[in-house]
Symmetry: C2
Subunit: 520 residues, 2 copies
Amino acid sequence: MSATRRELSEGTLFTDFYQLTMAQLYFRQGLGLRRARFDYFYRSNPNYGDHAAGYCVAAGLEWLIEWMLATRPTAAELDRLRGLEGRSGKRLFDDDFLSFLAKHGSFDGLRLLAVPEGRVVHPNVPLAVVEGPLAAAQLIETALLNHLNYQTLVATKAARIRDAARGGAVFEFGMRRAHERGANAAARAALIGGAELSSNTGMSLVMGVKPAGTHAHSMVQAFIALGGSELDAFTAYAELYPDDCVLLVDTVDTLASGVPNAIRVFSRLKRSGHRPVGIRLDSGDLAHLAVQSARQLDAAGFPEVAIVLSNDLDELVIWQIVTQIQQEAPRYGVDPTHLLGRLVYGVGTALVTSRGASSLDGVYKLVAIEDAGVLRPAIKLSETEAKVLNPGDKKVWRIYDGRGKATADLVTLAEEDPIHDRPLELRHPTADHYYRCLGPGDVDLVEPLLEEVVHEGRRLGETPTLDQLRLRCAADLERLDPGVKRLMNPHVYHVSLSQRLWEYKKGLVASLRRDIEAEA
Amino acid sequence: MSATRRELSEGTLFTDFYQLTMAQLYFRQGLGLRRARFDYFYRSNPNYGDHAAGYCVAAGLEWLIEWMLATRPTAAELDRLRGLEGRSGKRLFDDDFLSFLAKHGSFDGLRLLAVPEGRVVHPNVPLAVVEGPLAAAQLIETALLNHLNYQTLVATKAARIRDAARGGAVFEFGMRRAHERGANAAARAALIGGAELSSNTGMSLVMGVKPAGTHAHSMVQAFIALGGSELDAFTAYAELYPDDCVLLVDTVDTLASGVPNAIRVFSRLKRSGHRPVGIRLDSGDLAHLAVQSARQLDAAGFPEVAIVLSNDLDELVIWQIVTQIQQEAPRYGVDPTHLLGRLVYGVGTALVTSRGASSLDGVYKLVAIEDAGVLRPAIKLSETEAKVLNPGDKKVWRIYDGRGKATADLVTLAEEDPIHDRPLELRHPTADHYYRCLGPGDVDLVEPLLEEVVHEGRRLGETPTLDQLRLRCAADLERLDPGVKRLMNPHVYHVSLSQRLWEYKKGLVASLRRDIEAEA
């Protein structure tokens, strides 16, 4: 990529244009440095069509932080903005605004609070909160959404796929059909959410895991085209990688040629003191071929060799494969539990493009702005009740019951204290007659979810390691009700407003509606 | 992004790991510099679920060329590979291979032939051909697929959306829900395939078009939260951008507040000699609101003001909107043709994620390898007849009939001359009894599709401008049968093999099957 393209397309100008036209308007109105608060949240869990998620796994935050701390307008970017003309031929951006942007167009004045990466999260709960000068807080919108929406989408899909794999390992193989450089964000999010390894060499090295991968059909084809055979190809591969030998067995004929040839090669490896690692099946009826391959491998004395499955897998296909193996394996004398334990799932396109739900509907909304020293709530009406914002300065909490399971997420006004207040009154965000009241015996723990991670240009706390992110994710999944994790038709997790926030919102909406009617 | 992350994740190591393990095997076998040929093609047009494409628009090639000419292994990359260990704790990559990679791991030895960007293309036709040393030709696979699959997918969706818009302009608004940095590739592909403008500021500047965008709901909300009104917000915006004034009218109430306020502001702009540009509708029944807004704008003397529609649009939603307007507008005294002519469609998520078909199934297959100075065909059998490769050195052609319409794409052996050979015998790739024979009167023009674009580290010919790419695309769409362009259930465009290629392939498959049976 040319240096110019990178500078113009990955820094401050990696933004929707209206953020800049609005920033100039705020500057012109004397509002550019006015303190404002924006909430990031998503409205609904991914719905893949025939199945749907009951939760999400937050991801993308650390890359967002890295971007916001490193990005500030460059001379070249400001020059290009200076050159932009409107329809009249006059410049769109004036020099005084560009000077303001040079000085205040970085994100050093912002506070960022967020639910830490790797945590399980739910719809309509603020997952990130930006507070600071209006112009900068507006300018960060596009990049914030771009970073958080996509990685959250992929980490969620990875968690589901891992769940479907029932203990079998999941490898991320998707970069060839990922959305261009999004492949790298995908690999990272997949590793956080549920993939053990990735075929993406560069990102694996960045993340500190071994890259995964062996060989393709082309290697076997090349040997055959030059007058050799599949066995020659396998032999050459095993000689070069005697302790890391996974053989792709479906180039010619899986059961008649591939597996028998793999067994020949594995036997030689074993005799010379090496441990063959596995075979890979990439076409055909994977469940049936896994059973038959296991049968051949077991008979030949290789019950520990892994069987890697790939070819357009997703959580439903894996679920089906698992079910089919449970039914079919015993008929062929293969122990299904043992077979499932040796399977590895290579998942590509469906994971990195979140097939069926290729986007997360995360939004970034102004909820408060300073006036005479205090934050005043901002609201937006909508014909859809669920789309009316939760205004003002708020906090978010997770409530655990006596089983240690998360029972609800709660959004409150900033000054409330749900850790000590009892009973806790939980209101449904839109349906007025849905109401829950939790007494002292119903609540085991109330946990605040938002942490301040950036304060005026500095990262607060430590950047988590991949292992820490994975542990967070696993711990939260463990505390989730099994019904919420169901792959299809999951149980709806409760997201509630506190009684006081609910009343506050109702009051603001009513007052705004009165104003509009008075004006009309 | 840290410099280390960029270096490791966007250069040579932006690849599936198995390309590297295979490259070492080829090197070890003395095959690393053996001349090979790989074909890139996709198997099926995007199927969005309830609708499907009848063609694709090729895109991504120029960025691939830029990447391949700029990328070569760096010392840091080689160091990281040197540090990789296998399961035994021994290094995976030996020093002699890493030296080979340092010398031959760039793509300077490759020839790249391709169907030029922007052209309409079809399944199972080689769209790019890589010829050169086996190791380098294998190493480029992942990046080639990553660049071409995604941009082709988005350019195709953009062409369809533009088609549905029936003359209305399409703007790309998708970066907030695009797959991370893939947002930039998306903007480019959308501009090639059918979008007039994009909200992506950086990429618009890179591509030489004006970025599109005005203001968000947050601007109106900020004014209201500070005690002002929607009208105050519109007024401030119009004063700052008097000649570029597009107002978002749905923050409060579209027809009762937004449009009347916009008209007040437009009237003032008009009196002071400016031309108001438009309004934007972002929620509700867009077709109905467009008709009612047009009615108000017409009555107020603004029949030329544009109406921008946004909110989860795709080609089917736009098609519906157009149909609904055609039916509903006359009832309210609004001329539907005039209204459709002033509409602009802001399309985001569905465009950049190609909703419903979030990937193109492009593959990269070894089709020939040199032996004793000649290219020997490589083939791969498959239980699925359609997945058996077309082997060897081939050429691809487009056949136009007397109407100037493209009637078929033809894949032939390299030495054939379909420009002069008559009759042309066209075989269906898999169904043996489908057969077409074109005489001199049936064929107006036979056009070769592949051009050599890279030769040993040099770009051949000129890098096309955006305007040239758009013209190519428009010209090809014009020469496509309307049935093939149908949004739903399109007519199947013919992709054929020449009689000689068909016989050659049949012979190779039969011979390989005999070999396998003999071995078994």
